[in-house]
């Protein structure tokens, strides 16, 4: 591609520009941008697939058909996106002029940025940082802040309460989440997602020794991505649409989309940390990325199932579950991990 551009530029007698474009620094930046674009598109496509899966499976659980536009209802999401795209963009009179438009950008941007650390297979990833586990969870930590900002800036009582709930809930559930991740880190001895998967390929999936941690992590992750039964921040029965009540048009659409993007990242983390990532148990001719996506979809099926079967819990109950049930379990799980490590079994 660069060669074609170079030829055109030489034909135009722009030799200096052609040399600059061919320099390694520029090429490096272009490569990074192209890879980032590919990762973004793949992440978005998987997220859209998760929305479709959620709606279709939820429909089947409820004894109805589910989405219907296109083959198997696959185009419903695109139809909905187009519908919200043509809606008018309204800013409430009393909303904060600066923060109100900024909060969705923060939420959507951070949700999309989380795709960066997810390795799909041995060769298909954007970055392989030594601390990618910490980086992903840190980006999860930005979300409650942005939600609180958005809820407060809308200057509406429902959004304020929703934002407060979101902040309280997600901050509380970070603790058991991190504790169960720490147990994985203790056993694998690495904070890089790629290395964790490689370790599991050589030894055993982390779900086997750390089954308690796996359960704690799944429950905390459902709370972290704000799905039923922990969807208090947007409890539509009492808070209309929670913290997002005042957002309309494509902002609403993208906020919804970013929730599924976070669900995708959450399911990926469960798959990578506990279920061996792209490690296929048998059938070597199936490519690694397919194993990863298959496990991810199965994990998301648990999310959908939970959503179909359970009601929403209350604010005080959700914190009770966190501090009185999940936190002790996560601590026990950590002790087990340390015990295994000191005995030298892993």
């Amino acid at each position: 591609m660069v060669d074609i551009v170079g030829t055109i530029l030489r034909w135009l007698h722009l030799y200096g520009l052609a040399d600059w474009l061919g320099s390694p620094g520029v090429l490096n930046i272009v490569t990074i941008l192209v890879v980032a674009l590919i990762i973004l598109i793949v992440g978005m496509l998987v997220s859209i697939q998760l929305i479709w899966q959620d709606r279709k499976m939820l429909g089947r659980f409820m004894d109805r058909v589910g989405t219907q536009v296109g083959p198997f209802g696959l185009f419903q999401n695109f139809a909905d996106a187009f519908k919200v795209l043509v809606k008018e963009y309204i800013v409430p009179d009393s909303a904060d002029r600066l923060i109100y438009p900024l909060a969705p950008i923060l939420i959507i941007g951070v949700s999309m940025a989380m795709f960066v650390t997810i390795p799909y297979s041995q060769g298909f990833y954007m970055s392989d940082s030594d601390l990618s586990v910490i980086l992903t969870l840190a980006m999860f930590g930005v979300i409650p802040f942005a939600v609180l900002l958005g809820g407060w800036a809308s200057n509406n009582k429902y959004t304020l309460i929703g934002g407060m709930r979101a902040a309280a809930q997600t901050c509380a559930y970070e603790v058991p989440l991190l504790l169960s991740v720490v147990s994985v880190v203790v056993l694998t001895g690495s904070m890089s997602l790629n290395d964790i998967v490689v370790y599991q390929q050589e030894n055993v999936w982390m779900v086997v020794p750390l089954i308690i941690g796996f359960l704690v992590f799944v429950i905390s992750m459902i709370a972290e991505v704000e799905r039923v039964p922990f969807d208090l921040p947007e409890a539509e029965a009492e808070l209309v649409e929670g913290w997002g009540t005042e957002y309309g048009g494509m902002r609403f659409g993208l906020i919804m989309m970013s929730e599924y993007a976070r669900a995708f990242v959450g399911c990926s983390l469960i798959t990578i940390l506990f279920l061996g990532g792209w490690d296929g148990p048998f059938l070597d001719y199936i490519i690694e990325g397919a194993w990863f996506l298959l496990k991810l979809i199965l994990v998301f099926t648990i999310f959908v199932w939970v959503r179909a079967a359970l009601p929403r819990v209350r604010t005080d109950q959700i914190l009770n579950i966190c501090w009185k049930r999940l936190l002790p379990l996560a601590a026990i799980n950590l002790f087990i991990a340390v015990f295994f490590k000191t005995m030298g079994w892993f």
Binding site: M62, I161, V240
Partner: protein
């Protein structure tokens, strides 16, 4: 957080119908509340004064979308008392049977509504799916699905269609299996019980003092059911038991309504057994009612519904007054929700089975 008033309504997902529950919250806790109704006022009681007696039957249907038959039934009973008409035996059985079918349909609508109130859409769709069967039964009985216009002064409009008994028994058999499914989905679910138990407490004494009736009263352990205490039609000939619960909370209200659905199935079965196989279903009423007053009351799915009629000797009522069970229950709603959390408001108020059509009139 400072205390603030929040309007839950008139356009809010929690309200089933147009009304406004104003609540004052301190953080998440409700410290004060006030129900505001009047958004759906149609002047029903004035409108009926300009219509003659048969014309009011379809209007009585429209008092409540959920249980329209019971309202036209209580209206017809009131007018029959004023006119002094004795309804044929078979018509009485058909009326009681329709009452019970309507009760099941209405309770299913309530079950669907609390499903969304508690954040579980599955329950909503399961309950509406099964309600469809009972709407189909009504459709085959009288042609309409929601507002039946089936009850007549002096009987019912038409007899049951052919194969009615067979279809009804199939429906009831299927529905009893469905009730077990609800039991598995809700009663055995820890999270559902967490959302219901211990909320909206109201002792039997308070419940009687504020004038609660129906399932909400029976959930406080009071044995009061008009079908039993002041039997109308043929309820005194039937063998059935009253469903009560002693817990006085939202969970008890849920259980009472579920038990009532099961009991209604038994009542319909018994009615099908005891119903006379043939006979007249209607007597011709006079055009004018005598001057005087009459009152009839019955057990609506929501509580005690009562109509008080003043006739002036003409073909139109001088005054027709409606006692709506839900108007009284909603007036007591601050007592139920004060001191609980915001998230409990849909749970507690959903259990009252709110229907604004009859409340505002």
């Amino acid at each position: 957080m400072a205390e603030m008033w929040i309007n839950m309504g008139p356009q809010h997902p929690m309200t089933h119908g147009l009304w406004n529950m104003r609540i004052k919250v301190d953080g998440e806790t409700i410290v004060d509340s006030e129900p505001v109704i009047g958004y759906l006022h149609r002047g029903w009681e004035r409108m009926v004064e300009d219509r003659n007696y048969p014309q009011i039957i379809p209007m009585a249907d429209r008092l409540c979308y959920g249980s329209s038959f019971t309202w036209s039934h209580v209206y017809c009973m009131t007018v029959e008392k004023l006119m002094g008409i004795e309804v044929p035996e078979r018509a009485k059985y058909i009326r009681a049977m329709s009452d019970e079918l309507q009760r099941i349909g209405n309770h299913l609508m309530w079950l669907a509504a609390i499903g969304t109130d508690l954040g579980n859409l599955t329950m909503f769709l399961y309950a509406t799916r099964d309600r469809e069967l009972f709407l189909d039964m009504f459709q085959s009985l009288c042609g309409a699905r929601m507002t039946y216009n089936f009850c007549r002064i002096g009987g019912v409009r038409n007899d049951s269609p052919p194969n009615w008994v067979r279809d009804l028994e199939r429906t009831l058999d299927y529905f009893e299996k469905r009730l077990e499914e609800y039991d598995m989905l809700v009663d055995q679910s820890k999270l559902f019980r967490m959302r219901m138990e211990g909320l909206g407490y109201m002792s039997a004494k308070d419940a009687i003092n504020v004038g609660l009736t129906g399932p909400v009263l029976r959930a406080s352990g009071v044995k009061y059911d008009i079908r039993h205490n002041d039997p109308y039609e043929i309820y005194d000939e039937l063998d059935w038991h009253m469903c009560t619960h002693d817990a006085c909370d939202t969970w008890a209200r849920y259980r009472v309504r579920m038990m009532e659905m099961k009991e209604s199935v038994n009542i319909v079965r018994e009615i099908l057994k005891k119903m006379p196989k043939s006979g007249p279903i209607r007597v011709k009423p006079p055009r004018n009612a005598p001057a005087g007053t009459a009152m009839a009351r019955m057990e609506d799915p929501r509580g005690e519904s009562l109509m008080y009629l003043v006739g002036d000797g003409g073909s139109k009522p001088y005054r027709l007054s409606v006692r709506s069970p839900l108007f009284v229950i909603l007036s007591a709603s601050p007592k139920l929700i004060n001191g609980y959390k915001i998230a409990d408001v849909p749970s507690i108020l959903g259990m009252l089975d709110v229907c604004m059509g009859e409340t505002d009139r």
